[in-house]
């Protein structure tokens, strides 16, 4: 009860928090914590698609409509140089897009930003959208994706999937999302996926950033230290194409300029779901390379 009071008094007076309750009746507090743990709800999400994780407002993907651009400056508008127009057709590179939403504002008849997250692909070319060809990807619930991943990994690897993450010059936005995969809400470990400290233990190399010149050597070395079969997943617009940082004196313009990339996960940053989807594709790849020897 005393501890209830301690906590209640904190609620009343936030400044009370400044003084440590260290010396308080810690045994009672202890009991309280235990009961607190017991009473915790399950936080891990089953299906975030219908929850608000992917809010309607979320900018996750772009759909192109077949309309004739009424302004020719569309391509100049995009900071990431993801749009190309020839007066009639629009070509959009999702691998470069940083999801700023400026194109939709300028030409809502052509661009529609949606919250779809199933955007990762195996071939870079598949990230190119051409006006007139609508993509009709549905959405799979997170839980279902995770289960598929688990089944596949245990079938193919007979164990869990080990990932080594390397930041090759990201803005740290993509790291925030990869870290989020480990929180209790997404809890990626329950699907048999875990992050390892050494590349020698890894099946998958998860890379972010435009492959900055100063990281190029370290990135190559990390890859070389991995045992075969090894899969490289490029996470985020930067990793797919250089993103907003492009191809300059300080970057190499995408991970595939340095390493063979197997999976591209677009987005700036991609959501945890999108990254998980990318991993699902990665496992497919492992299967294929095993079969091909």
């Amino acid at each position: 009860m005393i501890c209830e009071e301690i906590i209640m008094s904190h609620k009343k007076d936030a400044s009370g928090l400044r003084n440590s309750v260290d010396s308080g009746d810690s045994k009672h507090v202890q009991t309280k914590i235990m009961s607190d743990i017991m009473r915790d709800d399950v936080e891990t999400i089953k299906d975030p698609v219908n929850g608000y994780t992917n809010s309607q407002e979320f900018r996750g993907s772009i759909t192109l409509f077949d309309a004739i651009p009424h302004q020719d400056s569309l391509d100049k508008l995009c900071a990431a140089k993801a749009i190309e127009t020839d007066g009639r057709n629009v070509r959009l590179d999702l691998g470069k897009c940083i999801m700023c939403g400026r194109c939709q504002q300028a030409a809502p008849d052509i661009f529609l930003i949606g919250s779809i997250f199933e955007t990762p692909v195996k071939v870079r070319q598949d990230l190119i959208r051409l006006s007139g060809k609508l993509d009709s990807q549905g959405q799979k619930p997170y839980e279902q994706m995770g289960k598929e991943l688990k089944e596949k990994t245990s079938k193919i690897l007979r164990r869990s999937l080990a990932i080594r993450e390397v930041d090759a010059g990201s803005c740290n936005g993509c790291e925030v999302e990869i870290t989020a995969l480990n929180n209790a809400i997404y809890d990626i470990e329950r699907f048999g996926v875990h992050f390892v400290a050494s590349p020698r233990h890894a099946d998958v190399l998860l890379v972010t950033g435009p492959a900055s010149r100063n990281m190029e050597i370290a990135l190559r070395r990390t890859f070389e230290a991995m045992p075969d079969p090894r899969i490289v997943v490029a996470v985020g617009a930067c990793a797919c194409s250089g993103g907003i940082f492009g191809d300059t004196y300080a970057t190499t313009g995408g991970i595939d300029k340095v390493l063979p990339v197997d999976i591209y996960v677009p987005g700036c940053p991609p959501t945890p779901q999108a990254i998980l989807y990318g991993l699902l594709l990665a496992v497919d790849r492992i299967e294929a390379s095993k079969i091909n020897g």
Partner: protein, 539 residues
Amino acid sequence: MGRMGEKVKSCLVNSNEVHMLLADKSNIPEACSYLQDELASKLCSLISSDERQTSGAFVLRYVFEVHGKEDVFIAVTARTKESAENQLPSVPSIVKKFPLAVFYEREIRDMFGIIADGNPDARPLVLHEHWSAGVYPLRKDFDIKTKVSRDTGKEYPFIKVEGEGICEIPVGPVHAGIIEPGHFRFSVLGENIINLETRLFYTHKGVEKLAETMKLDQALLLSERISGDESVANSLAYCQALEKIAHTSVPKRALQIRCICAEMERIYNHLGTLAGISTDVGFSYGSARLNILKERMMQLNSVISGSRLLFGVNRIGGVGIDLDAEKLAMIINTTQIVQEDFEKIISMLRTKSSVVDRLRNTGIISKKVAYDLGLVGVVARAAGLDVDTRRDHPYAAYPTVSVDTHHDTPQNLMEYKVNLEKRKGDALGRFELRVEEVIDSIRMIDELISDLYDDNILTTDTLRLEPYGYALGYAESHRGQTIHWVMVGQDCDSLFRYKIRTASFVNWPGIEQAVLSDIVPDFPIVNKSLDLSYSGNDL
């Protein structure tokens, strides 16, 4: 200006900035010392720009922030040229008096090829050893697309600590966890750290040069990506600089939304840092709980801004998002739930001796060190410095909220001063301060929402910029003060120069001091408790 009188060629005042152009560059050290000693101001940025085409010289601006009640920045401006063919331009170094200047001067040598005479550290900083010599990316005659050849075989000369039983431990740039890259070179005696040298700039991606090729609105998107988790603060500093040049008045509602988002950014990041500290002391239940709260805040971010990292909030002249009644209610609800849970978790953490004991007296940064290195943000406050850009140089809607309740009444102030003197600058202090700031931010958001103006979210004025106009923009991110200097290009829709100095750039040297009394296994805790961004430093 007393004794500096005849050495100053001209003086220019632009809102809260005073620019003193020195008659000769040899007076730089004297002018800087004068500002520090007589006007109690501190060096907060060193900006160089290549103005050879427009005015025939490189221009250096040593920016000082005046401490105390006044909201003033003073820039000592000097010019330097190549004296002869093939000879690099130079300026006298100010390192002797300003130890923190060593990094600025090394950066300028790498990026502009301007030598600071008397700086004892001649090693490269931004451009690692494999870059060939004679490459100066921020000079105007350097093309951004240039692919510089790679010199192999060179090694970076780390400081050698020698003696019986002393070993070196190299760590990085690729670390064990999911974090950004950087290299740490420990010299240890047993487990005790004798010296630490950090080597950064692995994520250098040419942000400042890239900005010079962009339109103003595009560079805004770039500023959000200087450091992804600091997007609101950095883009805010950028927008404010431009708005200052153009004398734009931003609608009040927009200013308030900027502050609401800036505080939401502070909350989710502090939650993440506290969770990280909890992980690093080996208490995973605490970190799991805190990370749940962080995720809740990020989901809230996504609802109100369309991005989980609040990308797209700021626009030049206002904001790009509006908050309707539904969203406001969601913000209030979520922050309330978060606060309730947060307080429970924190009281629990405080009862764990395994947490508190590891943090107490770990990673100490003394007040003197903090002052000499010009540290900012939570790190500086935990060491007993009373700095907060939101209060010292009020911007956006902060003048209308009680940012700092310690300065309300004389009693509070007195109490606070005593409290400041007691601060030890250890990891526990930084932990407690972050806790306090989360609660404060939630209170500020409440205040802002209850007083939200019914107004436009974007100014209707056209942005009236003048060619080569310049100004400073600044904001207090969750890491501390970020200062951006923007100089507009000739066409008024591009940037001539964009100098970014984030809180991480000034706080990184602090870590080398902080670990000196510690053992190697405490390093992750110290690192986390300082919460530094690699990308924000490396640019």
